[in-house]
């Protein structure tokens, strides 16, 4: 009998210990919404982003929450459809979220932002990289991922450092990324003393770059560096045909080519330098993140978007701490806007003075012997970054 009382007593004690905790979570949780494309064309980006977000939420909650407040994550699939994004965003807003995370592409991110802007809910686009995105929506919209103009600045700085003076730029007007990133590069490169020999255009998916390559061969003087934001399948096709034609100028690319395909290109891709959002150097936060990720999910991160997703939650954490727990939209918004040097998985993030497009680390990598080799982590000077257009 006494034994039984002891058993029930323990159970009772557990219930009494947990109950107020549950109540506290219900009343005092920080609700973060994520409208993402977990199916459809955005799945390769938004799925890993969600994993990173989940990892951050779990780590913070386990450690007692943000200043004692637990995070409640409400994630919904918008099926990579812009119209659906607006509908889903409204549903999530109706559940009373205080912060929203928007999907990985400009159009659905804008659709989400238009809902949250009206509701005065600070919103962070997890991996859309167009720097004009916050300006398109309004003062509650923030970018998170390495912006195109930031990457371009890092690449231009690197090119000048290597002593390249005459650049060839290859762009495509098909997406803002493939068009503007090279244009930002050209702006910085020319402003700092380089010249742009020619700007060539391609159509995404065109496969055949023979006409463009022949034009490059005709250039006199020959360019000493080639810069492009092309990615699969255009980049592999381009660089093969470039090298086939005997053009040996070094090639600079952006994070779109941070993919196994680039490493498997063999001889032709040797020496290609490209930027991305981070490299896990020994002892770095990213290395630790990758280890935590593996421990939690039992697999290596499939893309850098896991880490940048994690970063978003760390930014929210820093902002909530800065407001002293005030979750009102305007207060949170101002707090994010003034964040400086927040430690995140990919390094550090600064919003202060950046018009809601973060200054963050850009990693430069080189293809060497079929491997991705780290060149440097750089944080461009904020004043060098060309204005978003």
């Amino acid at each position: 009998m006494a034994k039984n009382i002891g058993k029930y007593g323990a159970l009772l004690a557990t219930i009494m210990a947990v109950a107020p905790f549950c109540a506290a979570q219900a009343q005092d949780a920080i609700k973060i919404g994520f409208v993402g494309g977990f199916t459809g064309y955005l799945a390769p980006y938004d799925q890993p982003t969600l994993q990173g977000i989940e990892l951050a939420v779990e780590q913070i909650n386990k450690a007692g929450g943000i200043d004692g407040k637990q995070i409640e994550l409400i994630s919904r699939d918008m099926r990579s459809d812009t119209a659906q994004a607006a509908v889903t965003a409204q549903e999530v807003v109706d559940q009373g979220v205080q912060v929203m995370i928007a999907p990985c592409d400009v159009d659905p991110a804008v659709a989400t932002g238009q809902i949250t802007q009206a509701a005065q809910i600070p919103t962070i686009a997890a991996c859309a990289s167009t720097p004009i995105l916050p300006g398109m929506v309004g003062d509650y919209m923030f970018a998170n991922y390495t912006a195109d103009n930031l990457q371009a600045t890092a690449l231009a700085d690197y090119a000048l450092e290597q002593g390249y003076k005459n650049a060839l730029v290859l762009l495509s007007r098909d997406t803002p990324y493939t068009e503007m990133l090279p244009r930002y590069f050209a702006t910085v490169f020319e402003k700092k003393g380089g010249t742009v020999a020619a700007t060539l255009e391609f159509k995404m998916g065109q496969q055949d770059f023979s006409a463009e390559v022949t034009k490059i061969k005709e250039l006199s003087p020959a360019p000493d560096v080639v810069m492009t934001a092309a990615y699969e399948p255009d980049f592999p096709a381009f660089i093969r045909q470039l090298r086939s034609a005997g053009i040996t100028a070094p090639v600079l690319g952006s994070d779109g080519i941070d993919s196994p395909t680039t490493l498997e290109l063999g001889e032709v891709a040797e020496g290609v330098v490209f930027s991305n959002a981070g490299y896990p150097t020994p002892g770095s936060a990213l290395e630790k993140f990758n280890a935590d990720f593996k421990a939690h999910f039992g697999e290596e991160p499939s893309a850098i978007f896991t880490a940048t997703g994690y970063d978003v939650i760390k930014v929210v954490e820093a902002a909530v701490k800065a407001t002293g727990g005030n979750l009102e939209g305007p207060a949170l918004r101002d707090a994010i806007d003034n964040l400086e040097n927040v430690a995140v998985a990919t390094g550090s993030i600064t919003y202060k003075g950046m018009n809601r497009v973060p200054l963050r680390v850009v990693a430069l990598n080189k293809v060497q012997g079929g491997q991705k080799v780290h060149v440097a982590n750089v944080t461009p000077n904020g004043a060098d970054v060309p204005p978003a257009q």
Binding site: A245, P260, G266, V268
Partner: protein, 294 residues
């Protein structure tokens, strides 16, 4: 002059690939009156075929061969499973069926394989260039031209010399009378699909040499170009499909080579306008299909 020659070669290589693709569409259209929009997925299948056979440790040349054969087999199966049941239905039904096949294959690729591209290695040996006089010609380009020429020659010989080839031409001109003469209709149609599969496979290999990866959407753009080539050349005419492919290649390369920078953005619009212009004067295409003489 050298620039011109070089660009001419470029046009030849690109046009050749379009010609192979267009020919694949035209072979099926000529006997069945069907534009098979799932033709591009046959290219994609070649890519995945090469990817997986390489993974199994099959030597590279054999993997390429396997990729082409897989496309041929898939084309024949496609006809058996999807098109035969609707063979006597309206052309619209058949067209919609081909859209459905294309979409189903997309979804299967995305969900069973991956939405992300799979890398296909290309041997370094074929990446370089050879010098001819003062010109440098890419080996892949030469290979494209040579393979296109051999394929066209092979197909021409088949159609002209073999009874099955002659039967296919007969069926293309008058399907009912070909049947009346005892030509096996299923055999002819299966052969047409097998040929279209082989052509898609060969074009797929050339495409893969350039892009180095396969993804679910790989076949989408090429089949569109092939369709333009076929309409330009004259629906149902095999010669027309080849001519249409080469003309499309020439138009595209010349625009890219000679348009002033400011106008480059409009080059697709200009090239389609040129195509429409040709069709305005030759509504049946460059080589109109022969009507049977009564």
């Amino acid at each position: 002059m050298e620039y011109f020659l070089q660009q001419g070669l470029n046009a030849l290589a690109l046009g050749g690939t379009y010609a192979l693709l267009g020919l694949g569409l035209a072979v099926v259209f000529s006997v069945l009156g069907l534009i098979n929009f799932a033709h591009g997925e046959l290219m994609t299948l070649t890519g995945y075929g090469i990817f997986y056979t390489l993974l199994m440790g099959v030597p590279y040349p054999l993997a390429l061969l396997a990729g082409v054969l897989i496309a041929a087999l898939a084309a024949v199966l496609m006809e058996r499973i999807a098109f035969r049941p609707v063979r006597n239905a309206s052309p619209t039904t058949m067209l919609l069926t081909s859209f459905a096949v294309s979409t189903i294959l997309h979804i299967l690729f995305q969900n069973l394989i991956s939405a992300r591209p799979k890398a296909i290695p290309v041997p370094d040996a074929i990446i370089g260039a050879v010098s001819v006089g003062s010109m440098q010609i890419g080996i892949i380009q030469l290979l494209s031209i040579a393979i296109t020429a051999v394929s066209l020659l092979g197909l021409t010989l088949f159609l002209k010399k073999s009874l099955l080839g002659i039967a296919m031409r007969a069926a293309a001109e008058d399907f009912n009378v070909a049947r009346l003469m005892g030509v096996n209709a299923n055999m002819v149609i299966s052969t047409a699909f097998a040929i279209s599969g082989i052509l898609a496979g060969i074009a797929g290999v050339l495409w893969l040499f350039q892009r180095g990866s396969v993804d679910p959407m790989m076949g989408f753009l090429p089949v569109l170009k092939a369709f333009i080539a076929v309409v330009l050349g004259g629906l149902g005419s095999l010669t027309g499909a080849v001519i249409g492919g080469f003309i499309l290649g020439i138009i595209e390369v010349s625009l890219r080579a000679y348009l002033p920078d400011g106008m480059l953005a409009y080059r697709d619009a200009i090239s389609l306008t040129l195509v429409i212009l040709v069709l305005f004067f030759l509504p049946q295409g460059i080589v109109p299909r022969r009507e049977s003489v009564r």
